[in-house]
Amino acid sequence: MAGRAKLVAVIGDEDTCTGFLLSGVGELKKTRESNFLVVEKDTSIAEIEETFRGFLGRDDVGIILINQFVAEMIRHAIDAHVQSIPAVLEIPSKEHPYDASKDSILRRAEGMFSAEDFR
């Protein structure tokens, strides 16, 4: 498949990040620039949002995987992202199962239907 090689970024709890790093998607340069963020109890919402916006601004990130409970903290930033790339995928976490009703993409798809449209 043609197209420039892009990275998969991850924003999630320790187990999520460990799992994805095991699969080989992680990048950590000598300058400490990375494509993942381990969200802990003391990680601030500002840091999460800054990291998310940083990934959106990079042209070498193709997919962003984010735990849904983390996505809820920065929902306004995720809803504001309407471009196709990078694609944002919300994934479950150990303590918070996936809820389709909270997913930004599915909410956008569901919101288009109204009673008038079917006349």
């Binding site: 197209g3 892009k6 187990d15 460990t18 095991l22 998607v25 995928l89």
Partner: protein, 212 residues
């Protein structure tokens, strides 16, 4: 004209429903694989110890081994495909056997350093080989990130950690499919909206025509 729009609208709606159904199916599989991966990590942590499977074990420098290729299709949808870059540059694999051969003479030269002067000529010829071997070693050391991430957690890791790696590798491949489906759903949604507006305009035009 209105019938044509209605037909296209129906086809688009059916396509939209199919895409949503497929997306839900892929999502369920993705979530199930992620849960399987966590379970394997927990089993590995139980076997190895709490601190042995944590962010503390991540390498100081990591080079990505998996990348995603993105391509825009003509109708506006995006195609995502994953590629695994398991092996390092070809020079490493071709040089490694030579390095093994040359380490022998270098070692002999080191071992012979304390021997009599009669053997110094042999040591000198080996010394010329040393810089090449050292250079190759530095080339190999220069790419630490191509190491299998499993090795961060120890030389001998439990099978459960390998299973976790396998599960999350499958998750990455599925993520590419889910990402493509998400963009397809949004493109189809936009097309549906456009067709609905067209239909409403056609209906309003017809009503005005009847009124006059």
């Amino acid at each position: 004209m209105k019938e044509d729009v209605s037909l296209r609208l129906d086809q688009c709606l059916l396509r939209f429903m199919d895409q949503l159904e497929l997306l839900e199916e892929k999502r369920e599989k993705l979530n199930s694989l992620i849960e399987q991966g966590w379970f394997c990590i927990s089993k590995a942590r139980y076997a190895m110890g709490n601190k042995q499977v944590s962010a503390l074990q991540y390498s100081n420098e990591i080079v990505p081994q998996v990348c995603v290729h993105v391509r825009r299709v003509s109708n506006g949808e995006m195609e995502f495909g994953t590629e695994r870059m398991d092996r390092g540059p070809s020079e490493d694999t071709t040089n490694t056997p030579r390095q093994v051969e040359e380490v022998g003479p270098v070692d002999e030269g080191v071992r012979r350093r304390k021997t009599t002067t009669a053997k110094d000529s042999k040591a000198q010829s080996n010394a010329s080989v040393k810089p090449v071997a050292e250079e190759e070693a530095s080339v190999n050391k220069g790419s630490p990130g191509h190491q299998d991430p499993l090795k961060w957690f120890g030389i001998l890791v439990p099978q459960s950690l390998k299973q976790a790696q396998s599960a999350f590798s499958q998750v990455i491949e599925l993520s590419a499919e889910v990402a493509a489906l998400q963009t397809a759903v949004l493109v189809t949604r936009k097309e549906l909206q456009t067709l609905m507006e067209e239909k409403h305009k056609a209906a309003q035009g017809k009503e005005k025509g009847k009124g006059s």
